[in-house]
């Protein structure tokens, strides 16, 4: 299982901060696609992703036990 951490407005969209999801061997992009369908999460295409607190791109392959954080980029100031 992959541990998913949802930051900022994503936490509100899903109604919780963390969840576990099947994703061993998936890429980050595939996980995003799966979450988009299962939870109707909008705007996952443009969020930053951290895998185990390390910045990761869409091609990164996930393994059981990984923690994936989705972090919306912020532009205001």
């Amino acid at each position: 299982m992959i541990n998913v951490l949802l930051f900022a407005q994503l936490k509100d969209e899903l109604g919780k901060e963390t969840l576990s999801i099947e994703g061993n061997g998936m890429s980050v992009a595939q996980l995003k696609g799966k979450m988009k369908i299962e939870f109707q999460l909008e705007g996952l295409e443009t969020v930053m992703t951290a895998v185990n607190e390390e910045f990761a791109d869409d091609e990164t392959i996930l393994s059981d036990g990984d923690t994936v954080a989705f972090i919306p980029p912020v532009s205001g100031g």
Binding site: A8, G43, E54, F55, P72, P73, S75, G77
Partner: protein, 339 residues
């Protein structure tokens, strides 16, 4: 020992030697809004030698809730923010040389200001300008500190040319349709939390304590009690067009800038993004509705109105700002909505 800075020189990573270095440095601060005014105040109190503040805006009532330095009097006088900031900063610390530059920051207007600048502080409100800063930082070898906030959320990252990844390594494309302070609101704790990180990094850079510079991106949400650092060790890209081997500094070219043009005889400015976008107009309409705009939307365009100003946004990102001939104002309004 200068009594004014005694508590800062007591802090051993700065010390008397660090204070001398801070005094010798020149910081360029881009933006004098929420992040900008608070950064300006902290840098001035800390005793930086010279501070150049660039901003295109003037002080309005809705700024006072979170923008330090400014008073009701500034609103009444409709003072440009850079100038209002300069006046208040002088009363706080007359030893700091503050230069106020009232202008729209583009690659072309910014570069001439960056001679002899030791550090660029980001206090802008959009990624387009940040990508320009990022390219100039790489071209001129000047460190910069990204900072951004909206709602109760913030994010910051320090970029050292030749050492850390750059913002372009992280963001392959400029994200569009992020929440902005005009659509998602903003509370002051998010502002000052970002500023706390930016100023800590600035002091490290000014006293040249390179080892202490934070190697990771920080993100937080103060209302939802979240804080996370993200390591960036694998992010730096050899083929990055801003910091890689074959760099072209793409954001310094005119073709990658948002264009504005006055439409003759129509009291309207057209704003055009560098590349056609594919906006989710329905989502944008929802955000704007929540923030006090009168919004109409159809599959092709969105029309929004507030305080007598009207903007029409097409799905490809092009917009018409009605009721003005001021291109800088039109671009500011566009970016305040689209981020």
């Amino acid at each position: 020992m200068n009594e004014r800075y005694s508590r800062q020189t007591l802090f051993s990573p700065i010390g008397e030697g660090g204070q001398v270095k801070i005094k010798q440095k020149h910081v360029l601060l881009l933006g004098a809004g929420a992040l900008g005014s608070a950064n300006a105040e902290a840098l001035t109190r800390a005793g930086v030698g010279k501070l150049t503040i660039v901003d295109r805006d003037y002080v309005e009532t809705s700024n006072l809730q979170r923008q330090q330095l400014y008073t009701e009097q500034d609103v009444e006088e409709k003072l440009p923010k850079a100038e209002a900031a300069k006046r208040h900063l002088h009363a706080i610390n007359h030893e700091v040389e503050v230069k106020a530059v009232i202008m729209d920051a583009t690659a072309q207007t910014l570069e001439p200001l960056l001679g002899h600048v030791d550090l660029i502080m980001d206090a802008t409100d959009n990624f387009e300008t940040r990508m320009i800063i990022n390219d100039l930082s790489q071209k001129l070898q000047i460190p910069w500190i990204y900072g951004a906030c909206v709602g109760s959320v913030g994010m910051t990252m320090t970029i050292l040319p030749g050492q850390t990844p750059c913002l372009h390594c992280l963001l392959k494309t400029i994200p569009i349709q992020g929440m902005t302070c005009d659509t998602g609101g903003i509370i002051s704790p998010a502002v000052i939390m970002v500023v706390a990180h930016q100023i800590a990094e600035a002091l490290k850079i000014l006293v040249e304590d390179w080892e202490s510079v934070r190697p990771s991106l920080v993100t937080f949400d103060l209302w939802r009690n979240q804080y996370q650092t993200v390591r960036l060790t694998k992010v730096k890209k050899k083929d990055c067009l801003s910091c890689g081997d074959q760099r072209t500094y793409p954001f310094l070219t005119l073709e990658n800038a948002t264009k504005t043009a006055v439409l003759c005889g129509r009291d309207t400015v057209q704003v055009r993004p560098p590349k056609p976008l594919k906006l989710q107009l329905e989502k944008l309409a929802k955000d704007l509705n929540g923030s006090g705009y009168l919004v109409k939307v159809n599959p092709f365009l969105l029309s929004c109105e507030k305080n007598g100003e009207r903007m029409v946004v097409f799905q490809d990102g092009r917009a018409l700002v009605h009721g003005t001939k001021d291109m800088v104002h039109a671009k500011a309004m566009y970016q305040s909505i689209l981020g």
